[in-house]
């Protein structure tokens, strides 16, 4: 009896120590609803390998690929191999005109399956390249993906995802915003400057390839989609997401954001505004970051930073106990408590809606293909009937046919005589001899 109790205790102890810190509960992922959605009769009937080959063939022969086919493929993925094929199909779809009718369920299914089959690195590559793949995160798939990455403490990739969310400028879901803020802050906190790559001596032969384009592009940096520096992106994410609502945590994160994004003028403006707000209190971490940056920054910008620091020095500091990280995690949990049920209900509805849309679009497509086939068959029949008519009505139309034959013969004659004239000229013609000029 004692042994069993000890065993049970040991098990529970192990499970507690192995339990990773996850934010979203399993309920959020709506796994049962999702699994029932993807095991619908429509998707079960398909053999994915044949389906991929067929889609590939249609694309190479006719140059068309349909959005609904790719959607069905994405939802019916059962093995990691299929994810490679899905990537290829998404690329082909993006380069065709059909990309305008791509369904949202395609992106959601791709994200879910990539997480399941550990294809996350490639997934993030695809998400970062919407011009070639057309994958976008919706609120729920983003939450699930961020949760996965934060559980593994992969702050770099989580900050990447947060940056993608910021680029789309849709900050409606509280859980998503709080998770993005947490990811960006943890990335900034644990950021280590990479060593500058050693530039090799360039005395190698440089081969210049010239490519002709219609118009040359002038260099243009739009400071939004063109930012490639992860740290700057994380700063911008923090700044833009925290601008939405004004509370102590958000204001502090805004300050960090503008600082890391290097928009010191905006930082100054925000600090001045916050000074006038009597309820505002500042975290130690923010002041530490400001001071750290002061040492690293160029002398011209130092003035602005020092101004900010002096302004913010007058503000009451929050005691070290609720650290910024802890406040962030509290924020996430509050958001989850507030919005989890709504999100779960919304997801369930979405799955049903997507199922219906898929059916509808599939029917539309099959109707369209049927119609094309029928038109082809009718034209074929018409041709056959015409031939038969010619045969049956031959004797009535004999005179007309004779006239037609005469016309055709005349045409043939003309072309033949032309050739003869040419050859006649050729025989009598002796080309002149060209001797090299002697200077």
């Amino acid at each position: 009896m004692l042994k069993s109790v000890l065993k049970a205790r040991a098990k529970s102890f192990l499970s507690i120590s192995l339990k990773k810190r996850t934010f979203l509960s399993n309920d959020y992922k709506c796994n049962e609803n999702w699994n029932s959605a993807i095991s619908s009769p429509l998707l079960n009937k398909i053999n994915l390998n044949d389906f991929y080959n067929k889609l590939d063939q249609t694309h190479s022969s006719k140059g068309i690929i349909s959005a609904i086919d790719v959607d069905i493929f994405a939802n019916a993925v059962t093995e990691p191999v299929h994810l490679e094929e899905l990537k290829d199909l998404l690329h082909k779809l993006r380069l065709s005109a059909e990309t305008g009718s791509m369904l949202e369920s395609t992106s959601h299914a791709t994200v879910r399956h990539s997480i399941k089959f550990d294809y996350v690195d490639e997934l993030i590559q695809m998400l970062k390249d919407p011009l070639n793949y057309g994958l976008f995160l919706d609120d729920y798939s983003a939450n699930i993906l961020l949760n996965e990455l934060l559980v593994k403490k992969n702050y770099t990739q989580a900050a990447d995802i947060a940056a993608l969310i910021m680029l789309q400028e849709e900050y409606n879901n509280d859980i998503l915003c709080s998770l993005c803020q947490y990811s960006s802050y943890m990335f900034i906190k644990n950021y280590v400057e990479p060593e500058p790559a050693v530039m090799e001596e360039n005395n190698k032969k440089v081969e210049e390839i010239k490519i002709r384009v219609k118009f040359l592009r002038n260099p243009y940096f739009d400071d939004h989609f063109d930012i490639k520096d992860r740290l700057k992106l994380a700063g911008k994410t923090l700044a833009w997401i925290s601008e939405k609502t004004s509370n102590t945590l958000n204001n502090n994160l805004q300050l960090i954001g503008w600082l890391i994004y290097k928009k010191y003028d905006q930082l100054l403006a925000t600090s001045e505004e916050l000074c006038t707000n009597t309820k505002f209190r500042i975290y130690n971490e923010v002041i530490d970051l400001l001071n750290k940056e002061l040492h690293k920054v160029e002398p011209e910008k130092k003035e602005v930073l020092e101004k900010c620091i002096s302004l913010l020095a007058k503000i009451e500091i929050i005691p070290t106990k609720p650290s910024l990280q802890a406040s962030l995690t509290d924020n996430i949990e509050n958001a989850i408590n507030k919005t989890q049920e709504k999100d779960v209900a919304a997801q369930k509805e979405l799955f049903i809606l997507w199922e219906k849309t898929r059916q509808l679009k599939l029917e539309e497509q099959s109707h369209r293909l049927d119609r094309v086939k029928r038109v082809q068959i009718i034209e074929e029949k018409q041709r056959q009937l015409q031939e038969e008519e010619q045969k049956l009505w031959f004797f009535e139309n004999e005179e007309k046919i004779d006239l037609q034959i005469e016309d055709k013969e005349k045409l043939v004659d003309k072309t033949q005589t032309k050739k003869k004239v040419l050859t006649a000229i050729d025989e009598n013609y002796i080309p002149p001899e060209i001797l090299p000029k002697r200077r």
Binding site: R94, L95, A97, Q168, I209
Partner: protein, 195 residues
Amino acid sequence: MATGTVIKYVGRTTDFKGKSLGEIVGSLKNFGVGRIIVRSVFLRYPEPSFMKIVKVQTCPDEERRRVRVGVEKTFRGQKLPNITEIYRTSYKTDYQLIPKREETRLLESINTIGNKADVILPNSIEMPPLMKLFIIKDHEKKGLETSKDFMMPLSYNQSPNRTNKIAKANEQPTIKFTMGLGKPVSPSLYDGIPL
């Protein structure tokens, strides 16, 4: 020892500043419906000009990929009533996306332009000198009296962006167009010629 390759592009130069519509619209969820874009060349005017995307239809890939976009266009502060379609010019790398946080500011900037004095364009203009002489001679030959003043109706190229009013029957235009040469830079060259 690898040889480095440098790619040099050869082609016509432009003074466009920005990205092509396809790139902007392809990087946004739902193809950017509801977002505001701006064309860099229209920024040269003092009044704000921008376009709000209403409908997007994608087109197949080609060297400079185009996209069919329906926009509500506001040109130089005037909002055009109909939806303009951008297709043939969507390849131009001249478009810029306006972030959502600056949208309200842009939309309100129209209200602060201030009413500039309404310009009324004339609906008739003096005849050219040669035409006048011709008519006088013609009337003499035919024996008609030349009692008219020599004015002829003026027609303008209509376009949705041109919003200046044309004077109707009794209105006084605010600008007058003349057939004269105006004030020449060196009057000595025009001695004795009525301008």
